[in-house]
């Protein structure tokens, strides 16, 4: 097996793909978004539930993801990184993750910040896969915008 393959399909990725965390669509939620990757037809439906107290604590991220191992693993890892944290608190995580994955391998993923997310960094060298990995995060961002719009 060539090296780049083992860097892509790490045990962690396969594990998240097989047993995705927080998968499924749950109530309650404020916003539900549906994103599609037009190149490959992958889809994610994602629901976001924030705390009612104005602190914007992410109470739940539930989702239904149809796609490749990378995109499913990414959704699983993301949900786990987000749930239980404040929106502002996870911003650095999101930003760093996006930067690292978009860097073509120039920026290494910081495990302190993005935890299992480092397992996805093998995709950074494959632009087509970067899109797969980012799709759940784009969906989260869109859901956040909607939720905030809703709450005024």
């Amino acid at each position: 097996m060539s090296t780049h393959l083992s860097a892509l399909y790490t045990e962690l990725v396969i594990e998240h793909d097989k047993r995705p965390l927080h998968a499924g669509l749950r109530e309650p939620f404020e916003a539900e978004v549906h994103h599609v990757n037009p190149t490959c037809g992958d889809e994610i439906t994602l629901r976001l539930h924030l705390s009612e107290d104005g602190a914007e604590r992410i109470e739940d991220v539930s989702y239904d993801a149809v796609g490749c191992a990378m995109s499913r693993a990414s959704a699983s890892i993301m949900a786990d990184l987000l749930i239980g944290h404040g929106v502002e608190e996870v911003e650095p995580v999101r930003t760093h993750f996006e930067q690292a994955i978009g860097s073509r391998g120039r920026i290494e993923g910081d495990e302190e910040l993005i935890g299992d997310g480092v397992a996805l960094m093998g995709a950074a060298k494959f632009p087509a896969r970067v899109k797969c990995v980012l799709m759940p995060w784009k969906a989260y961002q869109a859901a956040l915008v909607e939720t905030r719009a809703l709450r005024g």
């Binding site: 097996m1 399909y9 190149t39 490959c40 037809g41 992958d42 490749c68 990378m70 494959f126 896969r129």
Partner: protein, 425 residues
């Protein structure tokens, strides 16, 4: 189309394609099995374009000087060359476009743009029907959806049968007196299915409908004779037939082109222009607004020469043998399912397949690590995939330079991919 003038020797052919020397990484030679998406250009095509550029380049049709004459000759000779390759009765029936997509859009737009001076059969309006098929590439579907939306016409389609061919059972009720156009692909870019052009043309003619053939996948891979096919329009792309990107062609019967309103407007397609109004040139100029893809036309003509020298019969036979070899090999792998009709002499060029429990993106990724470049996803034929409950497929497609060894590497690679994921889970 003309008789082959060189032996079909794959090693010699491979030597013509400089990119085949490419290594994906220091250990991995490239096995390019994605000619269905875009083909590679042989040195002969590159050289023809460079020769034109270093000797004859100038603006065409607009100049009186000798360079303009040389360039215009090069461009118009390329039109003649393509016409001969396709078996078109006249070069004046060939319109150069930027790709097959533009060619199909041209027809769809023009049919919606006519006025009272346009013959009825070339005007699609409310109450009319447009018939396509469920296996179309988006390029031969979305322009017709848009035409229907703009005009109020109704879009209908011939459904797929379970065996991956068109289900013609209800053809008679799908094709009615209201049908103005039947647009369909010659060969499916996913399944490899070749559609029964003769039967479809006959049925369309019986109700007076125009026929538009998407020949993007067929013209480069089989003996192709427009006169024999009997359609009214055909579209193709240079970059799928060993020619340049940035060029495609629409062929249309002259008497139809002559009665159609223009699509793109601007320089070189006019007859007279005042500030108030303009009149338009005869075809093909009427449909070639602005500076055309001149050096690309020269490259495309060289690609026709290249293909004809090998012989389209020989190319079809070569690619068919590879297809059958691939089907044979892949069917033997547990968990692999061929998406397409059973092996048959009609079935050339491409093999799509699925690996149980595995997303095509992941399959493609693992194959890529072995150097095998295949395409994954819906291949711009999303409705077709949805019809069969598929999110996507993996597709290998074969070219003049593909070898048996490469097909074997594909089969071996797929087997290893199945193992790879088996070991991981």
């Amino acid at each position: 189309m003309s008789a082959a003038t060189r032996p079909f020797d794959v090693d010699a052919i491979r030597a013509d394609f400089p990119i085949l020397q490419r290594m994906l990484d220091p250990e991995t030679p490239m096995i390019y099995l994605d000619g269905g998406a875009t083909s590679q250009r042989p040195q002969q095509v590159i050289d023809a374009e460079v020769a034109y550029l270093t000797h004859d380049h100038a603006a065409v049709k607009r100049g009186a000087h000798r360079m303009a004459g040389a360039a215009t000759d090069a461009y118009e000779d390329s039109r003649e060359r393509l016409a001969a390759f396709l078996g078109a009765p006249s070069a004046q029936e060939i319109v150069f476009t930027k790709n097959a997509t533009e060619a199909l859009n041209l027809v769809a737009r023009s049919l919606g743009d006519g006025d009272t001076s346009t013959p009825e059969r070339l005007r699609v309006r409310e109450g009319d029907e447009i018939l396509v098929t469920e296996m179309e590439h988006h390029a031969n579907l979305v322009p017709w959806q848009e035409l229907a939306r703009r005009t109020g016409a109704r879009l209908r389609w011939i459904p797929m049968a379970e065996d991956f061919t068109l289900d013609l059972t209800d053809l008679d009720s799908l094709l009615t007196e209201r049908t103005k156009v039947l647009a369909f692909t010659h060969q499916s870019n996913v399944l490899g299915t070749v559609n029964p052009v003769g039967r479809l043309v006959e049925a369309a003619r019986a109700v007076g409908a125009l026929t538009v053939l998407d020949a993007a996948q067929s013209a480069p891979h089989m003996p192709f004779d427009l006169a024999a096919l009997g359609v009214d329009f055909a579209a193709l792309s240079g970059h799928k037939m060993l020619g340049p990107t940035g060029i495609g062609a629409l062929w249309g019967r002259y008497e139809l082109l002559e009665a159609m309103p223009p699509f793109l407007t601007g320089g070189s397609m006019i007859e007279t222009v005042t500030m108030e109004a303009s009149t338009f040139a005869e075809p093909p100029a009427r449909f070639e607004a602005g500076t055309p893809p001149i050096s690309q036309a020269v490259g495309l003509a060289a690609a026709c020469d290249y293909l004809d020298a090998l012989g389209m019969e020989q190319i079809a036979a070569h690619e068919q043998a590879l297809t059958l070899r691939a089907i044979d090999g892949l069917s033997g792998i547990d968990g692999v399912r061929i998406i397409g009709p059973a092996a048959s002499p009609q079935r050339t060029g491409a093999v799509a397949f699925g690996v149980a429990g595995r997303h095509p993106h992941d399959v493609g990724q693992v194959l890529d690590s072995y150097g095998i470049e295949v395409r994954v996803g819906h291949h711009c034929a999303w409705p077709l995939h949805r019809r069969f409950g598929l999110h996507g497929t993996t597709r290998a497609s074969f070219s003049v330079h593909t070898t048996d060894a490469e097909v074997d590497a594909l089969v071996d690679g797929v087997a290893r991919t199945v193992e790879f994921f088996g070991a991981l889970s």
